[in-house]
């Protein structure tokens, strides 16, 4: 395999980001599982409130950011596809 600075960068980035993602996702899943499992009344109320707070979110106000992110993601995929 040809050794280049970008190949090393990609491999390194894959290892670091992949490890970070796995650890982070496991941590978040465990945290939310613990939050959803406790059954006393206060936690139940807080859980319900958190769910209602999330559902009441007015996500239409973030449409501009969402469109920008979709465009940037599309541009990234296109540029990556241009690599030989």
């Amino acid at each position: 395999m040809e050794l280049s600075i970008f190949e090393i960068y990609r491999q390194l980035l894959g290892v670091v980001v992949g490890t970070y993602c796995v650890v982070r996702v496991c941590s978040v899943v465990m945290h939310w599982q613990g939050f959803g499992r406790d059954g006393d009344r206060v936690n139940l109320l807080i859980r319900r409130y958190a769910v209602s707070l999330f559902l009441r979110g007015r996500f239409r106000q973030f449409w501009l950011e969402s469109v920008q992110i979709v465009l940037l993601a599309g541009m990234l995929v296109y540029l990556m596809s241009q690599h030989r």
Partner: protein, 257 residues
């Protein structure tokens, strides 16, 4: 229209000393449509204008409206209290309401009755007041009300005549003393007054707690929105950085080739 003299009630707050949120809640209790982010000066101006309107309104017309809404009230209740009772309702039908009561509802809803305007036209304007969301909410309530009324129609054979709450006066004390003696009569009267006072204070505390909970809820909502914006911004920056690296990589590949 008969003009009554201004008579501040014992529970009227000093407006300029109230914090903004309590001023907004107070204005809403008088029937004003005040958003929670209204500036204090603007809220103060609107509340004062509403108080001036209350001074000009006919008290008998307000009693008409309260009687028609079948809210329990004493005949001697103040205008502010009557306005608060009326503001709790947004009726969609006005059958049985007197003309002066209808005009009063219109003025409290910021619908200025025109000279020579017919009653159906004024009712239509009152129904339209509040926009589409309010009309949809009223339609939903009407459907639910129709459904519930069918469920309980057996229990309600007919509406009885409206009766005011009993006044606290020397006649009722005399009747109590005649019925159950001096100590018992005075004790009953004191207990009734104490109960009224406690109920009023409990209502006030409940209103304040509700206002604070609303404020906490609003702040948590703002925090949620800020958090979403922050996360989206971080994602955007990450994508921009990735695109930059991909472009450099492309240029490098091109130069190497």
């Amino acid at each position: 229209m008969r003009v009554m003299a201004a008579k501040p009630t014992p529970t009227s707050p000093n407006l300029s000393e109230l914090p903004r949120d309590e001023l907004i809640v107070y204005g809403q209790s008088l029937g004003l449509q005040l958003p929670l982010d209204t500036e204090k000066g603007e809220a103060l101006r609107l509340v004062r204008r509403r108080q001036e309107l209350l001074v000009e309104l006919d008290r008998e017309a307000m009693l008409d409206a309260v009687r028609w809404l079948r809210m329990p009230v004493r005949r001697t209740a103040g205008k502010e209290h009557l306005a608060q009772l009326i503001a709790r309702h947004q009726p969609v039908r006005f059958d049985g309401l007197s003309n002066r009561g209808l005009h009063l509802l219109a003025m409290l809803s910021d619908v200025e009755p025109c000279a020579g305007e017919s009653r159906p036209a004024l009712e239509r304007r009152l129904r339209k007041e509040g926009g589409w969301s309010a009309r949809l909410r009223k339609l939903r309530r009407r459907a639910v009300g129709s459904f519930v009324s069918r469920l309980v129609s057996q229990a309600q054979a007919g509406e009885s005549e409206y009766r005011y709450l009993p006044e606290v006066d020397s006649q009722s004390i005399r009747k109590d003393i005649e019925d159950i003696g001096v100590v018992g009569g005075v004790a009953r009267k004191l207990r009734g007054m104490a109960d009224d006072y406690v109920h009023e204070k409990l209502d006030e505390i409940e209103r304040r707690i509700d206002a604070k909970l609303d404020e906490i809820d609003q702040r948590l909502g703002e925090w949620r929105d800020r958090e979403v914006v922050h996360r989206l911004r971080m994602l955007k920056i990450t994508l921009l950085f990735s695109i930059l690296v991909v472009i450099i990589s492309l240029v490098y590949d091109y130069l190497k080739a």
